[in-house]
C-alpha cells in the first residue's frame, strides 16, 4: 500500500486518532468556543467521539460505509448543538460516498471527503469566509484533490491538505462570523479563531497520520 490507499483498519484508525486529538484538545476547543460561542465545543465533540470509540470497540464494522455510518449516527445521537448535525452529516455523506468497500484509494477517499463537505454545506449553508469549519475543511478538500491530481500519493496529499486546513483555520481569526453562535457577536468575533475550524483541522490531520 505505502500511502497510496486506505484500508479499513486505517480508516478506523483515522476516526480513533481524531477522538484522541479531540480528547487532548478538549479544553482548548472549549476555550475557543467560550470566546465567541458558548463554551461547549470541546465538551460536545469529546462526548460524541467517546461514544464513537465505544461503539467501534463494541462492534467492528465490515465496510467503509458501515464504519462511517456508525460514526455519523453516533455523532448525531450524542453530540447535539451545531457540531452534532454538522459532523454527523459529514460522516453520513462520507459513508454513502465510500460504499460497501474495505479499502479506498486516493481518489475515492477524496471523493468521500468532498461528499462530506457538501453535506456540511447542505446542513449548515455556510459559505467561504463565514468563519466556520467550512473555512478549514473546504480548502483541505480542494488541496487534496489538487495534490492527487498532481500525482502525489494519498499520504503526502493529506499532509498538503492538512497544511491547507491549518491555513484556513488561521485565516478565520480576522473574520467577522456570519454563521453559528459567533455571528451574534458581529465585529466582536474578530480576532478569535473559530472552534469548529480548529477541530476539523484535527480531523484532516488525523487522516494524514492514520493514512500515512
Amino acid at each position: 500500500m505505502g500511502g497510496m490507499s486506505a484500508a479499513l483498519d486505517q480508516l478506523t484508525d483515522w476516526v480513533r486518532r481524531f477522538a484522541v486529538a479531540v480528547r487532548e484538545n478538549r479544553d482548548e476547543l472549549t476555550r475557543l468556543d467560550a470566546a465567541i460561542g458558548d463554551a461547549d465545543h470541546g465538551i460536545n465533540l469529546d462526548r460524541g467521539m467517546t461514544a464513537v470509540v465505544a461503539a467501534l470497540d463494541a462492534e467492528s464494522q465490515p465496510t467503509a460505509a458501515a464504519l462511517f455510518k456508525k460514526v455519523g449516527m453516533t455523532l448525531v445521537s450524542t453530540v447535539g448543538g451545531a457540531s452534532g448535525p454538522l459532523y454527523g452529516t459529514f460522516f453520513l455523506r462520507v459513508a454513502t460516498a465510500s460504499g460497501e468497500v474495505t479499502e479506498l484509494d486516493g481518489p475515492a477517499f477524496a471523493k468521500a471527503l468532498r461528499a462530506g463537505l457538501e453535506g456540511v454545506v447542505a446542513r449548515g449553508k455556510a459559505e467561504a469566509g463565514d468563519k466556520t469549519m467550512f473555512d478549514a475543511l473546504a480548502p483541505a478538500v480542494d488541496a487534496l484533490d489538487a495534490a492527487l491530481a498532481d500525482g502525489d500519493p494519498l499520504a503526502e496529499s493529506l499532509r498538503t491538505a492538512t497544511a491547507a486546513a491549518e491555513a484556513g483555520r488561521d485565516a478565520t481569526i480576522p473574520l467577522v462570523a456570519r454563521k453559528g453562535r459567533a455571528s451574534y457577536l458581529g465585529e466582536r468575533s474578530v480576532g478569535h479563531q473559530d472552534p469548529g475550524a480548529t477541530s476539523v483541522t484535527m480531523l484532516v490531520a488525523a487522516a494524514a497520520d492514520a493514512l500515512a
Binding site: 472549549t30 463554551a39 465538551i43 448525531v76 447535539g80 452534532g84 448535525p85 454563521k179
Partner: protein, 333 residues
C-alpha cells in the same frame, strides 16, 4: 466553580431525576431525557414539543403540562438535544392531530430539529410542523447570518400556543398562532455577570466589576457591547429602546410585558426593573395589557435580565389568560 452538583457530566440527568421526583404530574423518560405530561398523548389535540440545551430552567421542562407543552427534550447544558430525542417525543405526544415543534433559532437547535422532523416524518408518519422563534433584537437579522436568536418570546409563545392547541385548533392553525406570536414579539437582554458551564468549570467570559454586557443571549455568550455599569433606569432604556425601534408596539392592542431574570438576579431587582420598563412604555404610548416578572428563561446563575414585548390582540390575550398548569407557569383552573 461553586455549584450544587456532583459530577459535571451528570448534572442534567440528576436534575431530571429530581424533577421527576418532585412532580408526580410529569413523566420523565430518563434514557431519552424527555419530560412528558403524565397523560400524554392527549387524543385529538395537536401535540406540542420543544426542547433545547439545559441551563435555562424552568424552560422547557418546567413548561410541560396542561395548557402548555406536551413534552420537552433536554440537551446537555447549553447544547441542543439530539434528533433521536425529538423523534421519540414526537411519537409519544401525537394524539392523531400532528405535532408542532417549537424551536429557538440557534444553528444547533434548528439543525437537530430539522433532522428530527425529517426522521419523524419518515419513520412514523406523524405530521410535523416547526416554528422557529427569533425575537432577540440584539442580533441583526439577515439572510446572510444565523439570524436573530430565540429568547424570551419562546416562553410566552409556548403558553399561548398551548392554549390554542387546547381549544382544539388543527396543526396548521396552531402553527399560525405560533408564527403570529413570534412575529409580534421582540426581546433584548443584558448581563451583570457571566455564568459557568459545569463541564467547562470556569466563567464563559470575564466581566470587570464596573462593566456589564448589553445584548446577551441565554448561553453565556458575550453580548453586543460592554458598557460601564449604570443605574436600573438607564439599563431599562438600553433594553426597551431597541425593542421599540424594531417593531411598532403602540396602538390599541397593548402588549404582554415580560421582565425575565437570567438566573442570578433576585426578584427584588426584577420588580424594580419592571417599574422602570413600565414607565418607559407608558412614556412611549405602549399600553401594558398583561405582565410577567421572574426567572423563566435563564442562563444558569448569570445575573442580569431581559425585556420581552409581545403585541397582543384580544385573541392572544384570551389565550394568554387561559388556564395553565405546569411547574413553571400556573394559573386558572
Amino acid at each position: 466553580m461553586k455549584k450544587l452538583i456532583n459530577d459535571p457530566a451528570d448534572v442534567v440527568a440528576e436534575a431530571l431525576r429530581g424533577m421527576d421526583a418532585a412532580h408526580p404530574e410529569l413523566r420523565v423518560d430518563h434514557a431519552n431525557r424527555i419530560v412528558y405530561r403524565a397523560d400524554a398523548p392527549v387524543q385529538g389535540k395537536v401535540g406540542l414539543i420543544s426542547g433545547g440545551g439545559s441551563g435555562h430552567e424552568p424552560m422547557h421542562g418546567g413548561f410541560v403540562g396542561p395548557g402548555m407543552l406536551d413534552a420537552a427534550c433536554a440537551g446537555e447544558v447549553f447544547t441542543s438535544p439530539v434528533p433521536d430525542q425529538m423523534v421519540e417525543a414526537t411519537k409519544n405526544v401525537d394524539g392523531g392531530a400532528g405535532v408542532l415543534h417549537i424551536v429557538k433559532n440557534y444553528t444547533g437547535d434548528v439543525m437537530n430539529f430539522e433532522m428530527a422532523a425529517e426522521l419523524a416524518g419518515a419513520e412514523t408518519g406523524v405530521e410535523v410542523l416547526s416554528v422557529v422563534t427569533d425575537d432577540d433584537v440584539a442580533v441583526q437579522d439577515s439572510l446572510y447570518t444565523a439570524g436573530r436568536r430565540g429568547v424570551g418570546v419562546t416562553v410566552l409563545l409556548e403558553k399561548i400556543v398551548g392554549a390554542a392547541a387546547d381549544e382544539g385548533r388543527d396543526l396548521a392553525g396552531v402553527a399560525a398562532v405560533a408564527r403570529k406570536v413570534n412575529g409580534q414579539g421582540r426581546s433584548m437582554g443584558m448581563a451583570l455577570t457571566s455564568c459557568t458551564v459545569p463541564a467547562a468549570g470556569q466563567p464563559t467570559f470575564e466581566l470587570p466589576d464596573d462593566q456589564m454586557e448589553i445584548g446577551i443571549g441565554i448561553h453565556g455568550e458575550p453580548g453586543r457591547r460592554r458598557v460601564p455599569l449604570a443605574p436600573a433606569r438607564e439599563v431599562a432604556a438600553m433594553l426597551v429602546e431597541p425593542v421599540l425601534s424594531d417593531l411598532d408596539f403602540t396602538g390599541p392592542d397593548g402588549v404582554i410585558c415580560f421582565v425575565n431574570g437570567m438566573g442570578g438576579t433576585p426578584l427584588l431587582e426584577l420588580y424594580l426593573m419592571y417599574n422602570e420598563v413600565a414607565a418607559l412604555l407608558d412614556k412611549a404610548g405602549v399600553r401594558i395589557a398583561r405582565s410577567l416578572v421572574g426567572p423563566y428563561i435563564t442562563s444558569l446563575e448569570m445575573a442580569g435580565c431581559s425585556v420581552t414585548l409581545v403585541k397582543a390582540d384580544d385573541e392572544l390575550i384570551r389565550l394568554w389568560d387561559a388556564p395553565v398548569r405546569t411547574p413553571g407557569l400556573r394559573w386558572g383552573a
